[in-house]
Each structure stands twice: as C-alpha cells, then as structure tokens.
C-alpha cells in the first residue's frame, strides 16, 4: 500500500514539474518570443534580472516548489531503476536511505540560498 502512494506521488509530482519547470523554461529560454509579445523577459541570466527574481516572493516560492517536486520525482525514479538491478533487501535499504539523505541535503541547500537572497 505504501508503494502505491509513493507511485501516486510520482505521477502527481510529474504533472506539477511539467507546470513549474514549463514556466521556468519559457521564461529563461523563450525571452525573444516573450519580448516580441510585449512581456519584459530580456536577458534573464543577467545579474540584475536574477537578483530581481530572487527578491520576488512569487519566483522564490515557484523555485522552492519546483526543487521539492523535482527532487522527489527524480530520486524516486532513480531508486526504481536501481532496484531493478538489486535484489538484496539490505542493499535496497542502503540505497533508499542514501537517496533520502541526499535529497534532504540537496533540498536544504537549494532552499537556503534563495531564502538568504530574499532577506538581503
């Protein structure tokens, strides 16, 4: 039953990533088309633009959610792929805890920096 919920979360985070990462991709990589449509998205990788987004609570919340959804979806998918090659219960446990620890560390680091920049 637990695996059913974990798999359901995999499907739900997949859809949520498509939305949040889609917004990020369009903003970062379709700047010419957005500018032609009258939306100011010029030079999204410049320092000024990056700092402006870092101070906007909407962008910060979007990126933190994207990080959470992305880490869960990617690391759970990676765990499933590794599990296909490993039958030992003990090694599977080590893999699960290693991936979980890595995910928590990456999420902590990935949220620490935007929150520090938001408060600057």
């Amino acid at each position: 039953m637990k695996n059913t919920y974990l798999w359901l979360a995999q499907l739900v985070t997949g859809i949520l990533i498509a939305v949040t990462l889609g917004i990020h991709m369009v903003w970062m990589h379709l700047d010419t088309i957005l500018s032609a449509l009258g939306i100011d998205a010029t030079e999204p990788t410049s320092w000024a633009s990056m700092i402006q987004r870092s101070r906007d609570i909407g962008w910060v919340v979007l990126y933190i959610f994207l990080l959470a959804f992305g880490l869960y979806h990617a690391l759970y998918g990676l765990r499933n792929i590794i599990f296909e090659s490993i039958q030992s219960r003990r090694i599977r446990l080590v893999v699960t805890w290693s991936i979980l620890a890595f995910g928590i560390l990456a999420f902590a680091w990935g949220t620490y920096v935007p929150i520090i920049l938001l408060s600057k």
């Binding site: 499907l11 997949g14 859809i15 990533i17 498509a18 990462l21 889609g22 991709m25 990589h29 379709l30 700047d31 010419t32 088309i33 990788t45 410049s46 320092w47 990056m50 870092s54 990080l67 992305g70 990617a74 690391l75 998918g77 990676l78 792929i81 090659s85 039958q87 990456a106 680091w109 990935g110 920096v113 920049l117």
Partner: protein
C-alpha cells in the same frame, strides 16, 4: 512467505533497455523516457550547484554566465530543453495510459487479437509531433536570441 527471485538467465539488465525481443515503438519511447530522465537529473544537479554557489557575488555570477554562454554549453542547454519536452509529454502519455484513458473498452480475446496499446498508438504519434513542435519553437529562440 519466501520472496520470488527473478531467474538469472532471464535477466537482461540495462542491455534489456536496448533489445529484449520483439519490442514495439512504445518500448523504445519508454527507454528514451528513462535516458532523458537520468540526463535531466544530472543536469539539474549541476544547475543547482551553479545557481547557488555562484549566486552570492556579482563577479562570480557574471564569470559563470560568460562560460555558460559558450556555443557548446548552449547546444547542451538546447538538448536539455528537448529532453524536458519529450520526457514531460511522454510522461503525460504514460500517466493517461496507466489510468486507463484512451485505451478503449475491454473486449473478449477473440483472434485476431488487438492489444490496447496499439489501439492507442495515436497518442504516441501526437506526443512525438507535439514534442517536435515545442523543440522547433525553442530552437527558433535559441538561434534568434543567441
């Protein structure tokens, strides 16, 4: 209860991703789904490091961005965009099929058999077409925007 172990001689491992018998297009789409997923994971971890370590100082940020605007990095970035477009659309197809949408009603197994996956192949074709259109839109911006 003793756990069932897969028979070792029947186990293909990662080579089975490439060839394991009479594969159809959906099986290769699934393999590509995994490969693009692993690629996006690798890129995301590098991206997370770059956008956090170099974000504290303007000089280091601008130096990092100068390196990343190299044409080879731009090409790599474009490949990630294609991978994302493919992975998200194929993922949506897999979710719809897993939940039973677009599979048609179950029918008795009377010869000649029709499997539901082949009946819903139009979804696969629509996915490939949409991913190609999205990739072309991004390619236009990569070329025009630099």
């Amino acid at each position: 209860m003793k756990r069932m172990q897969p028979h070792k001689s029947n186990y293909l491992g990662i080579l089975g991703w490439i060839w394991g018998g009479n594969y159809r297009i959906e099986r290769y789409l699934y393999t590509l789904h995994r490969v693009t997923g692993l690629g996006i994971l690798l890129f995301s971890l590098i991206h997370l490091c770059v956008t956090t370590f170099f974000r504290m100082q303007q000089d280091s940020w601008e130096a990092a961005m100068t390196i990343l605007h190299n044409p080879w990095f731009k090409l790599g970035e474009y490949l990630v965009v294609i991978a994302f477009a493919y992975h998200s659309l194929n993922g949506l197809r897999l979710i719809l099929q897993e939940l039973g949408f677009g599979m048609g009603k179950p029918v008795p197994p009377i010869y000649p058999y029709r499997d539901s996956l082949r009946k819903s192949r139009r979804w696969s074709m629509a996915l490939i077409g949409t991913a190609a259109v999205i990739s072309l839109v991004f390619l236009y911006d990569f070329i025009v925007g630099g």
